[in-house]
């Protein structure tokens, strides 16, 4: 009996000894969580992020602000709030990350907002375009993605300026789609235009011929389209071309999601001539971008194609490094991090960007582009710029 108890006590004592934290090392390691999709429908964003991280660290080193940095990956697998919440919990509680790059998709952003607020973990949203989810949902949220109004409003203004009076709106029937429809309608009608009708397409849809017929029936001068990046955009473009709508006088105006580089090649000729409003094209002529594109293409495969996904992660890393640099020599403080990057300007490959002083949301240029074939490859070629569009 006594021996057993002695052994138990010895084991407990030794365990306590082992659990006592080692003396704090002089150099802190900053742990950063990468909470994005590495599998599922958005798997290519994971590959894009890994590429950009490699490239960024090659250029800017891996010790921002004099501290070692460690990246921990967790897969949100897509718009799955339960998974995102679980992964965020792992990152914040178990891995004790100090900053999160991500999440993507609005449901995930909303799901983990209470976690980042409670854990005081700055999170840079890299994949959700809904308005009002940054500062409003958590004081620790920032965004380097874009918001729906940021793309849609300039498109409506451009249409009104270019003598388009009647527009038929085609959107995917979910939150961002409805947001796009409302923003476009408000801006376009205020500028004197008329919306002939609104066509809502289910988010899971493979057959578009009925909707194409409705576009034909509308009698509009232009169709404004919002579809999320991926299968819906691709299906829409193909169906639009198949239905012969490209041979009519109808102009096709869309957000950059429809002509995103990830589905542009698969759309092929169906995408030629489509006018879209976007925030990044690899053909952007500024020097920063040309250098960025050159080094990216030199190092990585042609697929997934270079598009806004890579630039968003690049800028998120710029924000991260800037915030850490501002705290050189001090222990990491999340509130100071947020304060140091809000209101700051960054030179992004897409053009100049900044984070709003109050909300932390992104302010960036919007570009009107047309899809053209350059050197055999389909590209969005910018021909008009609207500067410093706020995210609200």
């Amino acid at each position: 009996m006594k021996v057993k108890m002695l052994i138990k006590a010895a084991v407990i004592a030794i365990s306590c000894g082992l659990l006592t934290p080692a003396p704090v090392l002089a150099q802190e390691t900053i742990k950063v969580g990468m909470l994005i999709s590495y599998s599922g429908i958005s798997a290519s964003s994971g590959i894009a992020a890994d590429n950009v991280l490699k490239m960024f660290q090659k250029k800017y080193g891996s010790e921002p602000g004099g501290k070692k940095i460690e990246f921990i990956r967790r897969d949100t697998t897509g718009p799955n709030p339960e998974v995102a919440r679980r992964m965020a919990q792992e990152l914040i509680v178990r891995e004790k990350v100090q900053v999160i790059l991500g999440p993507d998709f609005t449901p995930n952003v909303l799901a983990i907002a209470p976690l980042v607020t409670e854990g005081k973990v700055p999170a840079i949203i890299t994949g959700a375009a809904t308005r009002g989810i940054v500062g409003e949902k958590s004081p620790y949220y920032l965004r380097t993605f874009f918001s729906i109004p940021q793309s849609v409003r300039p498109m409506a203004q451009w249409a009104a300026k270019n003598d388009i009076k009647k527009v038929v709106i085609v959107v995917a029937d979910y939150g961002p789609g409805q947001d796009a429809e409302q923003t476009f309608t408000k801006t376009f009608t205020e500028a004197g235009g008329v919306i002939t009708n609104v066509i809502k397409v289910p988010v899971r849809n493979s057959e578009f011929s009925g909707y194409m017929q409705k576009i034909k029936d509308s009698g509009a001068e232009a169709a404004f389209v919002f579809m999320p990046i991926g299968e819906l955009s691709l299906g829409f473009l193909k169906a639009y071309a198949d239905a012969g709508l490209k041979n009519t006088k109808l102009k096709l105006l869309s957000t950059g999601d429809v002509t995103d580089e990830s589905t542009l090649d698969a759309a092929g000729d169906a995408a030629l001539g489509v006018i879209s409003v976007g925030h990044y094209s690899p053909t952007h002529t500024a020097a920063t971008n040309q250098a960025f594109v050159k080094s990216y293409l030199a190092e990585f495969d042609k697929t997934p194609r270079l598009g806004i996904a890579q630039v968003i992660m690049w800028d998120a890393l710029q924000v991260l490094y800037a915030g850490l640099e501002a705290q050189r020599g001090q222990k990491f403080d999340p509130d100071k991090f947020i304060a140091s990057v809000k209101g700051k300007q960054f030179d992004s490959p897409r053009g100049p960007i900044s984070l709003d002083k109050t909300t932390g949301d992104i302010i960036q240029n919007a570009y009107i582009r047309k899809v053209e074939r350059i050197g055999g490859v389909l590209q969005n070629v910018e021909f008009d710029t609207i500067k410093d569009v706020p995210a609200q």
Binding site: I47, K200, K238
Partner: protein
């Protein structure tokens, strides 16, 4: 005018669903095997077609029989190596097994071909529209209807008029008596699976241009396949055809005439049919030997 065009578009979509689903109906009816991995075979056919066109410069029309053959051969391998050990097990086991196979197929295709959509280029003479007695119809859909009708006639002829077809029908109607009469069930199962799988591959190759091809193809169309097979009745070719055409037409027409319903009409239709006739429109009542 518009109605006829819409109807035609629906028929084309329906024929596509039929070609993809007919193999599933027969294997579910005959082998009583719930093979959800059938949609992965469709995807395989699509990727065979795209690879043949891109890598080996094979013309589009020639890739179609190639997709049929290769997917058919793969189906035999799949059946002999994996599935035949699970005949006679309960439905849940088969569902879990085949769903697992679907997940594996998605990851494998994503590994070899990348996660993004594959550009599919069909020959120029199949693109665009053509005027047919006053209606403007898409050429590719005319092609689909044409192929669909020919395949339907071939399948019906094969099932009704050939010896092999008679053996398949016997196995579907009453497996115990069929094997008691001396039919080699193993061979018939394998051959039927091959043909069904080959048709799935052919359907996938045909659908790639219309519906888009990427590694997540199986999950997008699994529900449609199951709806077509359930509504039509397992084990019946004509039932699957009627269900596929009805669903294709209903989907396209309701999206045009009742867009506010948001594409939910076919699901309501499916639930209604299932409540009225659980065995499907032309399926046999459960309890048959």
């Amino acid at each position: 005018m518009v109605f006829l065009t819409t109807l035609f578009n629906g028929l084309a979509y329906g024929f596509l669903l039929f070609i993809m689903a007919v193999g599933l109906s027969v294997t579910m009816g005959m082998m009583r095997f719930v093979n959800l991995a059938h949609v992965s075979l469709c995807m395989l056919g699509g990727y065979v077609m795209v690879t043949a066109m891109e890598r080996f410069d094979i013309p589009f029309l020639a890739t179609l029989p190639l997709a049929f053959l290769i997917t058919g051969l793969f189906s035999i391998a799949l059946e002999r190596l994996v599935l035949r050990f699970f005949y006679g097990t309960d439905d849940l086991t088969q569902v879990l097994l085949s769903i697992g196979l679907v997940f594996m197929s998605i990851s494998t295709i994503a590994y070899f071909f990348g996660p993004e959509y594959k550009p599919v280029s069909i020959p120029v003479w199949l693109t665009g529209q053509i005027d047919v007695s006053g209606l403007t119809l898409e050429r590719y859909r005319i092609f689909l209807v044409f192929v669909g009708v020919i395949l339907t006639l071939l399948i019906l002829f094969g099932v009704e008029r050939t010896r092999f077809g008679a053996m398949v029908r016997a196995c579907v109607d009453n497996p115990r008596v069929a094997s008691g009469s001396g039919l080699n069930m193993q061979v018939i199962f394998a051959m039927t699976f091959a043909v069904g799988g080959g048709l799935a591959g052919l359907g996938g190759a045909l659908s790639a241009s219309l519906l888009g091809l990427d590694p997540n193809f199986p999950f997008r169309y699994l529900v449609y396949m199951l709806i077509v097979v359930s509504v039509g009745g397992m084990g019946t070719i004509v039932g699957t055809l009627i269900a596929a055409l009805a669903i294709g037409v209903a989907d396209v027409c309701t999206k045009y005439y009742f867009p506010a319903a948001g594409g939910s009409i076919i699901y309501i239709f499916t639930v209604a049919v299932m409540l009225w006739r659980p065995q499907g429109l032309l399926g046999r009542k459960p309890g048959h030997a």
